[in-house]
């Protein structure tokens, strides 16, 4: 390496102790915590908790001062890429801007320090907020009955399938199979198994739509449900959705809507109107709860009349005091309803991820009906514009669109020709993007597309950002045409380079030895 390289530290914020963990920084006797004064008469511990029930030794937590903790985690944070730093077109994840207002309102003590077991008369604000959110989600989905309980999309899926089971059992039917397209997100099949059903896969046709013939062939009366994502994980809207619904319902099965892609259709069309019985929302996608590096999220479900009796317990209900729906409702009151004889029961502790509800409700208040429709229109506009720009930059010559159609809020490219002609894989392209301040799109999903790249720009990105991404993609392909080694060796500008994942799985080190 040239001296310039030697001279250059990787970044001005990297330091000699970067590889230390918080445990490595521990020194006996250091502390950040100072206990409040003991203000009651002290009694011998043995009297209160017999020695045999106690730890012989304190748990070996770190011993560090406040400045060390702050600096440690602050420095760690700088080893992350995030949405407030740059473009994050991670397909299927809807990485839209997270308004700062939401953190402020969620932190208000009246929300943040409200105990979940507070009596309902003393939690009317929270219950009203939840009821209003239910009402809004019902309107957006076209399915009026909403439960906010599920903690994430996959949890909503599980709820939905358990509702389906309860629905069929209530009608004296025992069905054993659930259908999902081969494009489905992994949580769909995993949910099917976890809920005790057998998975049956449905094919995808040449246009990227559900293979109707395959569906018709497999739709028998032992099928409990079809789980569908629409727009699909290919970013394509199912034009035959009405026929699909008709087929599914004709065999008495339910139609489940995976709402991860709802961001494409808000205010434009509604799952309920398409014939879906059950839908889950990802509040951490369409309704902008920050992802937090892997949660928290929330996966509320909305259902049709026939499914309503089985919704989880408790339900937030409004006891009308004369105010009209959605209105202030002067004397309305809100309650938790446990009297639901047919309910599948509880899915978790307490009432759900309320802190997430506060953010998503604030978002809906900010945008209102016109704003929500605009979200979907711009999400789809941005996706199609980016696709067109990639075509202009001739990126599609190496990474053709999996399906030559207008897309919805996201689209899939196939890196197969790039791999064949340039000798770099989709993974290499992704890693090279990391060197340029851009988070890569989703890679190798959906499974049915070879060397797949799933790109979702979202509505909150500017046109300039999309243009920069298009030219950057072209640059990387040009660079690869000259010297594929560069991409194959990427990334270079990151805190660490490619990591040995196989080794990690072979000899798992999942905690530090102390």
């Amino acid at each position: 390496m040239s001296t310039t390289t030697q001279r250059r530290a990787r970044s001005f914020i990297e330091a000699a102790d970067d590889e230390l963990t918080i445990f490595d920084r521990s020194r006996p006797g250091r502390r950040a915590f100072v206990a409040p004064a003991l203000d009651v008469p002290e009694r011998p511990l043995d009297e209160l908790i017999p020695a045999p029930l106690r730890r012989p030794e304190p748990a070996r937590l770190p011993e560090v001062s406040e400045p060390e903790i702050v600096r440690h985690y602050n420095r760690l944070s700088k080893r992350n890429f995030d949405l407030d730093t740059g473009f994050y077109p991670l397909g299927s994840c809807t990485m839209k801007h997270n308004p700062k207002l939401h953190e402020r309102v969620a932190a208000l003590p009246g929300h943040a320090r409200l105990h979940p077991l507070q009596r309902v008369e003393a939690a009317q604000g929270a219950l009203e907020l939840m009821w209003r959110l239910q009402h809004a989600l019902g309107e957006i989905s076209g399915l009026p009955h909403v439960s906010l309980q599920p903690s994430a999309g996959s949890h909503g899926e599980l709820a939905g399938v358990l509702l389906t089971r309860a629905y069929h059992e209530d009608r004296g039917e025992h069905r054993t199979k659930i259908l999902t397209p081969d494009t489905a997100h992994g949580t769909n099949p995993a949910t099917v198994t976890m809920a005790g059903y057998e998975l049956v896969k449905i094919g995808t046709d040449a246009y990227g739509n559900v293979d109707i013939d395959d569906l018709r062939a497999k739709a028998s009366d032992d099928v409990a449900c079809l789980m569908l994502t629409n727009p699909s994980t290919l970013g394509l809207f199912e034009p035959q959705i009405e026929e699909i619904a008709q087929i599914v319902h004709s065999v008495g099965a339910t139609l489940y809507y995976d709402g991860a892609n709802l961001n494409a259709i808000m205010g434009i069309c509604r799952p309920g109107d398409m014939g879906f019985d059950i839908v889950h929302f990802n509040l951490h996608k369409s309704f902008t709860q920050p992802h937090g590096g892997g949660g928290p999220g929330a996966g509320p479900i909305a259902v049709s009349e026939r499914i309503e009796p089985f919704l989880p317990r408790p339900q937030v209900i409004r006891r009308s005091g004369g105010g009209e729906a959605g209105g202030a409702g002067a004397a309305d009151s809100y309650a938790l309803d446990y009297e639901r004889p047919k309910s599948i029961g509880r899915l978790r502790g307490f009432q759900g991820n309320y802190g997430v509800f506060v953010r998503s409700y604030a978002y809906i208040c900010s945008l209102g009906a016109p704003g929500l429709r605009e979200v979907s229109e711009v999400a789809v506009l941005n996706a199609n514009y980016l696709l067109a720009r990639l075509r202009e930059e001739r990126v599609l010559e190496y990474l053709p669109a999996a399906y030559e159609r207008l897309c919805m809020h996201e689209f899939v490219l196939s890196g197969a020709p790039m791999k064949r002609d340039l000798g770099i894989r989709t993974l290499d392209l992704a890693k090279r993007l990391l060197d340029h301040g851009v988070h890569p799109p989703t890679v190798y999903f959906p499974l049915i597309v070879d060397e797949a790249l799933l790109i979702e720009p979202t509505e909150t990105e500017t046109r300039e950002t999309l243009d920069r991404f298009a030219t950057l993609m072209a640059e990387i392909l040009r660079e690869a045409a000259e010297d594929p080694e560069i991409a194959r060796g990427a990334p270079y500008a990151t805190p660490v380079r490619r990591l040995d994942e196989a080794g990690a799985a072979r000899r798992p080190v999942v905690r530090q030895e102390l």
């Binding site: 937590l61 890429f81 003590p109 903690s151 949890h155 976890m194 899915l347 502790g349 208040c365 046109r463």
Partner: protein, 440 residues
Amino acid sequence: MSRYTSVTEDDLREMLATIGVASVDELFADVPAAIRLERPLALAEGLSEQEVYEQLQALASRNVSAADEISFLGAGMYDSYVPALVDSIITRSEFLTPYTPYQPEVSQGGLQAMFEYQTAISELTGLPVSNASVYEGPSAVAAAGYLATLHNGRRRFVVSAGVHPHAIETLTTLARGWEMDVEVVELVEGATDLSGVELGEDVSALILAQPNFLGAVERLDPLVQAAHDAGALVICSADPISLGLLQAPGAQGVDIVVGEGQTLGNRLDFGGPSFGFFAVTEALVRRVPGRIAGQTHDLDGRLGYVLTLQTREQHIRREKATSNICTAQALNALAGIVYLSWLGRRGMVELAELLVQRTAYARARLDAITGVALSHNQPVVREFPIRIFGDVDATIAHCLANGINPGYRISDNELLVAITERRTRADIDRLADTIEEALN
């Protein structure tokens, strides 16, 4: 244009031209006319930031939070003090806004924090393997149950009535899908008593809580012994703060230790988001649900971290996955490890001891009131039930009228009273005096 989008009129015109369509509507050509929503959504118009703030503030002001009364509510979530550094760290965009770390090279911060979190949970629970979090306490119990069935294929859970009722309900809901039975064993004198329960070949797991729902510290050894004799797994749901003082369940032979993490640096938030922790023995590692961070090296030999053992997970194994969980509670778990670093080795013990002493004081003060009795005499850490003889409704009403929330009502005449480090002796005295007033 909303304040979160940025398509100007020029942008729109030029973008449509680039795409080659005349209008945004054309982009939705695939949506059949019959299912289009031909009206605006029946929701209000948008509002300015300031107006939204005022609305959310108005709703907040209609809740009585732990900032507004002296609250002795607990029963699974606690009004613990969240140190300021936790907020300042978890609100950093770099932790708040990224997705699950699918690109480890630009996610080392989150991944290392997960690894540190797993190490701390492993220390507290006394088990070698922790995942990076599940949703919350009760569904952690259910997830542990699912692991047990995957492990031994048995058809029955035996659950102590000392397990949090929400956890028992959640397990029951999910067990339907697995077509399994859930049998609940009542408590005797506040503690789990297995006499009269036969633990047969069909028992997949014995499920306990430490301390249990009534605050009692359970003697785990005999219970674990009995379950293992029957070839069943033992699952224990534990309060992490109590583990600062109590013997680690893992050290007593428990196979799976789970619990509610809220009390570790997370807000009450009316019940969520918080996180569930989940730790197991080596033998069970490949059936653990959810994310696990693992240590490894990069091309240049630099130490680094990745999501590991992913062949357990839905995005790889799909219908063969050990769980369907995807998005979990990473940010809340981060708050957990930052909080535990703040407490530290000695602070963890000091805090638990402070709670034990104040709780003992509160227990004695209340027990001394005529008309009040302790529901049980088991050792407790931070929570205990009392029985009230007399007009319970009036007693509670009198407390509320005096700005005191006396605790969670667990039966007609029983209150579960929780003490956190925010409840001082003065608060406890006020509670006792006020109850005494009400009863006399």
